[in-house]
Subunit: 375 residues, 4 copies
């Protein structure tokens, strides 16, 4: 019972790799927002398999239908249902895996927990489940953009040991989308692509780091003490398949600095806005956005599915060997970029609604962040 | 409205640094558990200020009272309230800060969000708030120990660039508690203590990494797809003051490996249990515990409060300079250890109840994890 | 954002009268439960329009599809999605109502709240939304039956001033289903049918009372102090379209008795079970089930849609007159019976899981209700 | 785990009849609201025991302390904790009841559920628990009054068969508080008082009906389809001790009318507001407030505690007899009035925040209810 996310902009994803389809129900979307299936499709196309030679060759158009909650291209405030039927399913590819546990996959733990699982293509644990998240994220992005021109840009920061230098303050989605690995540093991107292709040839896999920036985020988002903005961002990102780590701002490397180096000095800019000179905080202080760019990073492990033979056991515990036959990505990073963006958008949108509900009911009790960009 | 944590073992913390006190209400604790204030006090003593020369000199005994939910030393299943009145409050120390924003603290963001704040000692954003968490965590720990001998051991893994080699499989709380910095590697611990003392003399601060292991965790805990065990652990840890990063298992460094290196091969041990040879997964696969040790790390930034003069602004935006006068820790790591343990315990306990509720109602529908340690 | 119900057996309904379809996502269903679309269809057929001459003539087969969460006829523990596409939609019937507010309908309030609405057939406020509830309720019923032979039987107790004498301890679903009005008292049922037909001819509508009994409910269900069993039952029933009142046990008429008459004396029966001699409590004491039959009643107002001309206004406030043209029921009671049963089943199932989670983790801390039927 | 209520204005009550005290933590209160302990005390005084000769003689001043969340008489937006220590406890009065189940009380069901209970004075099932609700309700009332001059007035409508005629549109709190039974019809009030006194002399108890009106409620509150305003009001009221029934608007008696009689015709008033001529709907249509007065009734059973000897059993099932010795009310109605008002205020306040969050983020997507009183 963990398939619902968000407090006010609440999404409920459903579906498995093989079966009737995957999708999402969104409860709490503001009414009278213009919305078309095409806008959602645009984000789904960035996530879909078979989009380039470095992703899985599974052929899914991932065409979405809006079943409810939108009337004559406007949201009605009632639950929005988005369905993507499954098409190119090949259960026979997974027949071996019905009885054999794939190392570092969820086969064994799903059996341990539920005593039963849909083994076709990983069932519910397939990354195909993220379609619902990306669809809902597209709507969250639109709300944020409309509310305050919030821009969320994710990109591949590192593939294995190939790290790109990227300026988070200026990077654009266009730049990110200009190559198939979604790294805005063109030269580095080509090296990454080469490395992924070589890895595929070796029947192996690799991982890396996605970085994501959110710009123009209103001050005041985040609900201490448990639902701090970074806490909910961490949960959101760590709920994505294959993620093993999360950082905000200076993250782990910030622990090598002294307080006198790490603290972000305040100053007042020419427009009278209180700003910070550095941004080691990553746009969040005390669990609440401070108006600076929110900057986070997520670690994704090398794909568990590899073509090489691996030691494993059957569901009854007998030793055996396994070489993956199903279609898969040698590196999840390029397709993880829209997933991370979606999760960031969902968290920010949910917190926007939560902040308005508590702190902006009365003009006289509202933080000043409503009226201006000042603290 | 973010002061409630957990779905079934649900805690609600309250209180500020200065004022009537801090504490917690726990809703959903199983009944008929033996419980005394002393057991809770033991954990609070590990968290309290003034416990050693490397922590803040604020003198608080942090003596807890159980106001409800326990009758004749047994829990009744009704809400347990634990209150710790504040004693050694010195609001005058913070008078300067009423109008001046401390860099990298929550003063400015609380003003931006709420338009008003209790500026005495940081108010709600003070780490004093974690008393409620540690108290609740003590109960969660006891439930886990009683259910399955779960052991949760946290320790300081790194202070700035001083990193200790620790065997997570064998480290004990006794070892951790044997020195004031809570690093089980004695030699390294002494260097850490020296560094912290030197840093205090320099009116500066430092950060580091806490590592935490949970052993004997039952298989099957975690609720995909959003409430995966690692996702909820990430949120829990990232909601602690000063945390900037979270990792599970191989974490960020795992992204430097290939899939063929990173995958954890399955085998059946001499007792017939399905195990993994390595544990890059950190005890969690597909968001669900697999029975191996859960291993995680949290990055804590250098304390924001430092004695050195810093550039900042007043609440009305005028440039000024600030040197902290209030009592503070030059390094939060030693006191963060019981906090991390508490958050891990709260997540595991909550997920234990959630797993039982869905997957163990019917003997015939239960995962096999009920009956044995096998998958 | 109010389309999610339940804490552990959590349902999320979606869909409007006209549009892609209606349905439900169920998160938290126990795994390894046998389940087929036919079982769900059986309950939907009791709810569907056009089932008899006294219901609306809208022709919908309401054929359901299971899109996810069930694999080879067993639940997997992952979200179950059930979709019923809309077929016999006639938006043109409602064209007039796009601009005119139907009295005592939700047209005006939806406009007031959302500023926009899908006016076709009432959109989200159509009773067609309850399809998702009834589908989910069919699964909840099965779980309850399998767990403890719980039987839930609803029936029409009263239509306008025609009240039937029914023995709640012995009434069966077969008896209820033996006539189209769903009143188990055959003679009274015929009078009710006649009255409904006469009312339809008069272009008017009538209401009444549905009574529902739940037998074999385990002791111990209910979560004081807010989620008392009767409180959640009240909410569940009062969330159904057209409901205006709720009673449990003696209800409103119990207020005419003295305590010495109303109290239910305890005794021990021949099997050693503690029972109550009377059941004015309606199976719930202190918010918790006591093992006696749970007995509740719900008042449903006369259908708002009537063929007679009525005074009303347009959405811009101009006075006008309206006579309904759309297809509608002259009395909702017969079709409300399966809805009430579904809501009762959903509450009981959710509370069953909640009770197990908190109170049955440890054998030594469990109430004795686990092991036997004794207190 | 049912001691938390509300989604955004979220309260967590704690405490038992005997023990450290009772109280509440409120998470989500808007910041910068002026608030003093005296304002809360005023409502607690209406609820406290010993206030008149027709209530229980237990002597509790119920003096409240604000432990957190308020700084210099203004709310800070952080959790507000209100504690009322217990004073006049007499556990010895309840010693008999440790082993004997009081008929129609929660003793037996608490044992069945939790396997253990605090038997002193009813423990958690004591109506003393409602102190936390009334305290939180006082704050909710203030927010509603400040936001839109919402007035919530409850009163005793009926005691046993003595029913008062009251005009809900004009009744005032002053009138209600002018006599000890809280019935605004003075003549009827005196009869009620006489009846209660006579009942006490007979060692018996009686029940009745509380009616409550909420005036000036903004249009648009309520979250279909499950969290309809009447559904949440029903849950709130039915979670109060001794409540057995709930009605809104025409309630059960409305089922005796025809649709042509029951529908509330719309018209536009002289100020251009869309209104309804009658108010059988009770201020709610389709689960959403329509701006008319919200009118509801709650049935309270005769107090379970009576001085007469009653048949019952011990906790081990042996037959015995019981005559109550503890202090108790012969009729809960007068003290239930502030409880009902509190629950209504809590629901309306929570829904106000929820409505603002979803439907008033964007001026262009807001329902018109923001700008004016029109639909």
């Amino acid at each position: 019972m963990g398939s619902i996310f968000g407090e006010l902009f609440r999404i409920s994803t459903f579906g498995e790799s093989h079966g009737g389809g995957v999708g999402v129900v969104i409860d709490g979307c503001p009414p009278r927002l213009e919305l078309s299936a095409q806008e959602i499709q645009k984000e789904l196309d960035r996530r879909r398999p078979g989009q380039s030679k470095i992703t899985t060759p599974r052929k899914e158009t991932d065409t979405c239908q809006i079943l409810s909650g939108v009337f004559q291209n406007q949201t009605t405030g009632t639950p929005i249902t988005i369905l993507v039927p499954n098409k190119d399913t090949r259960p026979q590819d997974y027949q071996d895996m019905a009885a054999t546990y794939r190392p570092s996959h969820a086969d064994a733990t799903y059996d341990a927990k539920y005593g039963y699982r849909n083994w076709q293509g990983g069932g519910r644990s397939s990354a195909r489940e993220t379609i619902g998240r990306v669809a809902a994220g597209a709507i969250a992005k639109k709300i944020l953009a409309q509310f305050a021109n919030v821009e969320i840009v994710g990109y591949v920061k590192r593939i294995k040991d190939l790290e790109a230098v990227v300026d988070a303050n200026t990077v654009t989605e266009e730049k990110v989308e200009s190559n198939m690995v979604r790294c805005p540093h063109q030269e580095c991107a080509q090296q990454m692509i080469d490395l992924i292709e070589q890895t595929r040839r070796e029947k192996d896999s690799i991982g890396g780091v996605v970085e994501c920036v959110a710009r123009n985020v209103p001050k005041g988002l985040g609900e201490p003490v448990f639902d701090k903005l970074e806490a909910d961002l961490a949960k959101a990102v760590m709920s994505l398949p294959a993620s093993k780590g999360f950082e905000i701002g200076s993250g782990f490397s910030g622990t090598l600095l002294k307080g006198s180096e790490h603290n972000d000095p305040f100053y007042t800019d020419d427009n009278g806005n209180i700003r910070t000179r550095s941004n080691y905080s990553g746009g969040v202080q005390g669990g609440i956005s401070n108006g600076e760019n929110i900057l986070l990073r997520a670690a994704f492990k090398p794909t568990s599915t590899i073509g090489q033979a691996q030691e494993t056991v059957t569901s009854t515990g007998e030793a055996t060997e396994l070489s993956a036959k199903g279609r898969h990505d040698p590196c999840v990073l390029p397709r993880a970029v829209p997933m991370v963006e979606a999760m960031v958008a969902l968290v920010l949108c949910d917190h926007l609604l939560r902040d308005r509900a508590q702190c902006h009911i009365f003009p006289e009790t509202a933080g000043e962040s409503t009226e201006s960009n000042k603290f």
